[in-house]
């Protein structure tokens, strides 16, 4: 079988990037983001990107890198509070922004990967989120329809991956990554540790290799946004 394993982030994105592309990038805050692939996407020079990601990184890190270079035309997110350059571009009308409730965003991505073009939810009923969306009553309650989301390329960060693309995620760094892996026409993954096939117990694989087209091993900085600790009492 032709190998899914690539050496560098740049090689792993070769031939996949283009102006106007839709990209999904995993992560919650800076936790579980595909740092190296995001940097490689910046270096690819692709313009007018629509980026689907729960957050928009911080200034100079994560998706913040692509905001700095003005490569992002539109963000689809649930929360974008941590980024001054984002705010500046948005207030200047240089950046489109589509807010989704976090659960709606997660479910839309899952739906996109699962062949579900639309589903109904109670989230957002009676709010601005419902504006212009079809509604339906079920058991006398009103629900709004949300649509499935797909991407040209999904950038995913996993903990360990094998050469067939089977993945395991670590703790809360899992977040949006597994769904995004299913919703990309092409899914590219960076892992802390690349292992041989057969290293995982098949009962505990979070993302089966079918969803992964390319994989690299790469070191992550793993920046912490809110370092919060307690002191030892002794």
């Amino acid at each position: 079988m032709s190998s899914k394993v690539f050496k560098t982030a740049a090689e792993a994105l070769e031939g996949l990037t283009f102006d106007g592309m839709v990209v999904m990038a995993g992560g919650f805050g800076l936790c579980g983001i595909p740092e190296n692939l995001i940097a490689a996407l910046r270096d690819s020079g692709a313009q007018n990107i629509t980026a689907i990601s729960n957050n928009a990184g911080v200034d100079g890190f994560g998706l913040g890198l692509l905001l700095e270079t003005r490569q992002i035309k539109k963000m689809v997110s649930s929360y974008v509070g941590e980024n001054k350059e984002f705010e500046r571009q948005f207030l200047a009308g240089e950046l489109d922004l589509e807010f989704n409730p976090q659960g709606t965003l997660a479910e839309r991505i899952r739906a996109g990967g699962a062949g579900i073009p639309g589903f109904y939810t109670k989230t957002g009923v009676g709010t601005v989120i419902a504006e212009g969306k079809p509604t339906m009553d079920f058991d006398g309650e009103e629900y709004i329809m949300e649509t499935g989301l797909k991407a040209d390329v999904s950038l995913v960060k996993a903990w360990r991956g094998d050469t067939q693309g089977n993945l395991q995620f670590k703790k809360t760094a899992r977040n949006f990554n597994p769904m995004m892996a299913t919703a990309g026409k092409v899914t590219v993954v960076e892992v802390d540790e690349l292992v041989e096939v057969g290293s995982f117990d098949p009962n505990y694989i979070h993302t089966p290799g079918i969803y992964v087209q390319r994989i690299i091993e790469a070191k992550c900085e793993k920046r912490i946004e809110q370092l919060t600790v307690r002191e030892r009492s002794s």
Binding site: S78, A106, E107, T121, I129, F169, T172, N175, I224
Partner: protein, 216 residues
């Protein structure tokens, strides 16, 4: 910042904690709700959910335990417990939206007498996004809002109708403010004041509340 009458932020968190029952699965918002974890009554064992994908959230780590791959929904570093489990964001919100979380305690900017809540945006100011707030109020079985009774100008935040864009419609079951507790049994009924904070009199409550509510 002690006050002569009414509850402090910590008092409000303590009062909210009394809504937690043994065996509950609980989601706490940021701000005052976070303090609730410090006041869980003895003999009450609850499991905290963090909507970024964890059940069984533990305390903040000791400095040598910090793990960048383990944070809560406020992006703070945390720890795991023996009972903990991790899952992806779709599964996490399926849990929330499917009605499996027993109670959500969350902050608010405004609450209406019909149980609407506004807590995510102020028109004209930079909007950061609703995060998981709309999912929580739409999905969790019981939603308790904790907020100051009035804004800095002294105007009531418990209103006949919210003036700010809504986070959710008819989804709040109890409002805890620095003045007291307002609750309702069913989402079709009116809120009743069930408790005043120490030193708060009916007169003050009435004067500072624009929403309709019923005594006792």
């Amino acid at each position: 910042m002690t006050k002569d009458t009414g509850w402090s932020r910590d008092d409000m968190a303590k009062r909210a904690a009394r809504e937690l029952k043994d065996g509950f699965y609980v989601n706490l918002g940021i701000g005052i709700p976070t303090l609730v974890a410090n006041h869980i009554p003895d003999g009450v064992d609850v499991t905290l959910q963090s909507e970024n994908g964890m059940l069984g959230m533990g305390p903040f780590p000791y400095p040598d335990e910090v793990d960048a791959d383990l944070i809560n929904a406020g992006k703070q570093t945390i720890t795991e417990l023996r009972r903990s489990s991790y899952f992806n964001s779709a599964d996490s919100f399926a849990m929330i939206r499917g009605g499996h979380i027993d109670i959500s305690i969350l902050g608010a900017m405004e609450i209406s007498q019909g149980g609407d809540i506004a807590n995510w945006m102020i028109p004209g100011k930079m909007v950061k996004g609703m995060g998981g707030a709309m999912d929580l109020v739409a999905g969790v079985k019981r939603c308790v809002a904790v907020m100051d009774h009035t804004n800095r100008a002294g105007a009531s935040k418990f209103l006949p109708k919210c003036t700010l864009p809504l986070t959710g419609r008819n989804c709040i079951d109890m409002v805890i403010t620095d003045l007291g507790v307002f609750s309702r049994g069913e989402r079709e009924t009116r809120f009743r004041v069930t408790e005043w904070a120490p030193g708060v009199e009916m007169e003050e409550g009435k004067a500072k509340t624009e929403a309709d509510w019923v005594w006792g």
